[in-house]
Amino acid sequence: MNPSVVATGIGIVSSLGNSNKVFWENCIGGKSGISQITGFETSTYKSHLGGEIKDFNPRAFLKPMQYRKMSKASRFAIAASIQALEDASLAVTEDNTEQIGIIAGTGYASTSFTDDFFVSLLQEGPSGADPFYFPETVPNAPASQISIFHNVRGPLSTVSHNNVSGELAITYACDLLQSGAVGAVIVCGVDELNPIIFRAYASLGVLSPRCGSEEMSRPFDHERNGIILGEGAAALVLEREDYAERRGARVYGKISGYATSGSSVTLGAYDTDGEQTARAIKEALSDSSIFPEDVDYISAASNSSRELDRLEALSIKKVFREYASRIPVTALKSQTGEYAGMGVLRAAAILLSLKNQLIPPTINLTIPDEQCSLLQIVRFPVSMMIRTVLLNGISFGGANAAIIFQKA
């Protein structure tokens, strides 16, 4: 992959904290961001937990006039983007505004507003439907709000592809940077936890239930029984290496290669044979001109679902063969739960691990599933020399992405 793409700024709004510093402390400390959902009623469901963000104050980032018309997703996204630009010491000016792009990755964006609008339509009828909610119902709302807030006028787009929305936003940003269309891109992965998304996931039977079993996000565990939904936003400032160098930016790490692939499955299902998920990893390694044994650890997509964790273990074994048992694997979703745009938060965690030379742990793992047993899943923070990390993205529906991060 040429020219190189580097990451120079990170911004985080998460259930593990609303800044890089707090997030990283909690992440490395093996804390859980998952708790009883308080934002809405869950008593009629079998599941009650979520990686809900409880201490986010939009006033810390926005004036009430600004956030009044914004969904939770847009508020999170702006807060993350403010932090990321600040962290990158990148000020948007009339001179560089067209050289900066914004790509968001989101599964469902502002569906709380979508539902509010539709319910107002059902309750009040066509003449009573409230136009207040409608503009925010588009999935490109968070990215657009970021552009309006910072007055960024370069390339602007939004990727929405199930649980690899964040990963595919990163790869689109890399493509834009490499095509020379732009010098820097703010990539933001964002989703909100709201009653309608919770209902959808619960009714489809994919959430970890609390009935005769423990409700928990426990990737790779023998007892895992489903996912826990999370929410939040993470933003990265990605730059073309020469652009970052010219302005003397501090660099967290670089993206040295990536690949995407697709598996043929029915709607909502996961791949089973692992051919295409493994191919994405292999091609990302070759795009990065490295060998499997060069990978220091793997940030897993596993989210505590029976199917995904098994599939991911299978794909890792297919690619890494004899090394599979020696490469540390960690799953951030054990701490935060799953949300569609979360690939960017996982990328942020990787960049922080490159900076701090520590691998964050997978929590809640008691008895590893036999099908995942060959893997070296880290349960405690590991301090070691980290140069190369694989971010693995796998979604239900069949989209796969693998991205390689390296120490600059």
Binding site: F118, S127, P135, N140, I148, R153, L204, G262, L267, A399
Partner: protein, 412 residues
Amino acid sequence: MKVTQPNRRVLITGLGAVTALAPNAAGTWNKLISGVCGISAIDLFDTSGYRVRIGAQVTNFKPPLLCVSSRQLRRLSRCDRFGLSATEEAFRDAKINLSAENRERIGICLGGGAGGVLLAEKYRRKIFQGQQAKPSMLLPFATCSTADCIASAYNISGPRSTIATACSSSATAIGYAADIIRQGRADLMVTGGSESLCELTFGGFNAMRLLDNNPCKPFDRGRNGLSLGEGAAILILEESNRALMRKAEVYGELMGYAITGDAHHMTSPAPDGRGAASAMQKALERCNLKPAQVDYINAHGTGTLINDAAETNAIKKVFADHAYKIPVSSVKSMVGHCLGAAGALEAFATVLTVKHSVIPPTISYETSDPECDLDFVPNKARPQSVTYAMSNSFAFGGNNTTLVFRKFEEMR
């Protein structure tokens, strides 16, 4: 495996479409250049009580039976079915025999709008009324469900992505798909977009008073809003050497694209059209073209007061005096504003304009507006050779996209 090879070019070698005009590409194109209006009363859902009750609804559509089992088809949304049908047609049109292809080199990148919302609404209504509803109705809700179901139906395993920027989604998806081929990450891409009418968008545009009571009249002085539509357009993009080797019929070349942000307002374009102008400007730069070389602009042209004036301003800003010499037309006057599929349908119309040297008209045009004083090809198609053509797509939140096409004969 990524192929590194400088100057890979991208040709369009297959087309498929579903619109209110016809459930196929040829029928749609013939009606576009005959100036037929596809906008009339909507009966897809109950529209009583709405201020405006018309739109460009797809009728007499029969879902394709070839690539998915009837059990799978039952689960798919109307939007997914349009997309599958257009893809089936596009592959056939491109004369691609998938069983002989390396499907790892074939990818898909679509733009999405409301997608499976129509089905999710039925679910939501039942829940609201205290009834039981099948959770499977929610499966196609995700914007990417159309891309996922097409990729699975044809077992294509190359790059896959979905762009979700409302009204400019599918234009961006097409531009991005071409870049994926240029980068060497795929040799063939299925791209475009699909959309189905639903109450969310119909109710939303109604509530915002953005809909015209009559079929929309883009750029007309009496324009009073847009008309929503639905449908799909799929383009097969192919790396040029590969296409030439297999002697594929070529519709045109996709030279490049640009996307920009307005950074202005969630629902209104910047009145001076700065973001739109910047998209056209950047697209020209990227394709190494001078403004005077552009022969045709397929406008976003929604029919709202503010969009059409802003787009006219933007065109003048970029093209200066030449703006008055370029034919500009909006096919939304015939197929409505198909949101997530709009950019794809307009790319479809633009590439056929380039191929057949006929410019589709802006219909329902009666009175010229001093604010919109360009050549809008009123009411009648115009035979004219077009070498370089642009297609504009703009969206809520200031998401602007411009695609640039070139006549095939000119590329050697």
